[in-house]
């Protein structure tokens, strides 16, 4: 690691001030992605601003027709929360499958979405549920949040405080893990909400994306049967030593069908 100064603000305002005052600052959430990156000297910052002492951005709350999860809520808390399980069991599954138990004890939701790893799980929930990302400056629609490979709509100095997930009528997340990293080789989040059906895919492309043609089919008939002849084109999907784009395309279609079945779609 390159040297940096460490800060542990007690409030979001204090953190925002620090971000504004330092030459090359970086927010530290759970650190599960950032610290390995720093250890390998793949990035360099003058200051790390640790959000772990800010209680106001932790916790899980049911707020009417939505579930609001604080940015610094750890994966284990989401995976074991009764509130989450009652409202959006797909999130229970998703959070319970991130990394490994030790990573889940430390990693946070906000860190995951701000990092926008193309194979991370949480971005598929934000997009798949049409969630709203609440920052210290504004609210960003899930559809507008993820911009590309490790790229989000967040501006420099902007801090994710929480994500507001609408409670869906039905939803499920199915992950097909990479055998080495155990990240998503492909992960599919499907949800039937009051606003319609949404399908979000992670792991398969440079950035989480929606599968609108599948959404259209499922809007008419939310069942695996509706997808019987559904296929995904490999164009533009990731290809690496673990899988070709062709196999990922196949996996997206299969995981989608399995997700719809898991969500309790009509059969």
């Amino acid at each position: 690691m390159y040297a940096f100064d460490y800060h542990q603000p007690k409030s979001v305002d204090e953190a925002a001030q620090m971000l504004g005052a330092k030459p090359e600052p970086k927010l530290l959430a759970g650190g599960m992605s950032l610290l390995p990156t720093l250890k390998l000297r793949l990035a360099q910052y003058t200051d790390l601003v640790d959000l772990s002492a800010i209680d106001s951005i932790k916790g899980i709350e049911r707020d009417g027709d939505a579930l609001v999860i604080g940015a610094m809520t750890r994966h284990v808390e989401v995976a074991t929360s009764d509130t989450v399980k009652r409202a959006i069991p797909a999130l229970t599954t998703l959070a319970g499958g991130i990394g490994d138990p030790l990573v889940r004890n430390r990693g946070t939701m906000g860190g995951s979405i701000a990092n926008a790893d193309p194979a991370a799980d949480y971005p598929s929930a934000v997009l798949g549920l049409g969630a709203t990302v609440i920052t210290d400056k504004r609210q960003i629609a899930g559809d507008d949040f993820f911009k590309g490979l490790f790229e989000t709509a967040l501006e420099p100095g902007e801090i994710v405080m929480a994500v507001r997930y609408p409670v869906p009528l039905q939803a499920a997340y199915i992950k097909y893990p990479n055998p080495a990293s155990r990240f998503a080789l492909v992960g599919v989040f499907v949800a039937r909400t009051a606003a319609g059906v949404r399908v979000a895919v992670t792991g398969a492309g440079p950035c989480v994306f929606r599968l609108t043609d599948a959404e259209a089919l499922l809007a008419k008939n939310f069942s695996a049967a509706a997808l019987e002849n559904f296929t995904v084109k490999p164009d533009g999907l990731n290809a690496d030593i673990h899988a070709t784009a062709e196999y990922r395309a196949h996996a997206v279609a299969v995981m989608l069908k399995r997700a719809v079945a898991a969500a309790g779609g009509n059969t």
Binding site: L28, L35, G99, D100, P101, L102
Partner: protein, 157 residues
Amino acid sequence: MPVVTMTVNGEARSAEVEGRTLLVEFLRNHLGLTGTHVGCDTTQCGCCTVHVNGVAIKSCTALAVALDGAAVTTIEGLAQNGKLHPMQEAFREHHALQCGFCTPGMIMSAIDMVRRNGHALDERTVRKQLEGNICRCTGYHNIVTAVQAGAAAMKGQ
């Protein structure tokens, strides 16, 4: 440089560290607790697992300075008054280690598994929950057996 103080294995320990000093470096280099090992640089092998405030984490992926005031238990702190922890005893009894390098992390991780899942652990749960700990010697066979036995033995604790 900041000074951090933690309660490590029941004792207050302080040291001056850099912002970038990892918890595992604090334990190994500053405190001489070399039972916690480093086996990778991508937060996957689990050799560095310790308990922070009662919860198992990978100490290679936590800054020491961020844990000022924490209570840390390492493999050196498990045995009490010369008596092995039941999970340590189970690893020995069931030959769950060969080279022994991953073992401290495995044991710390296994104890946390019991905290999360209780004392009656089926094979599938143990295998799944060991996802964050890699062993190259044992094929995991005896580790799984030991974790199940250790979990049951911890019930009497």
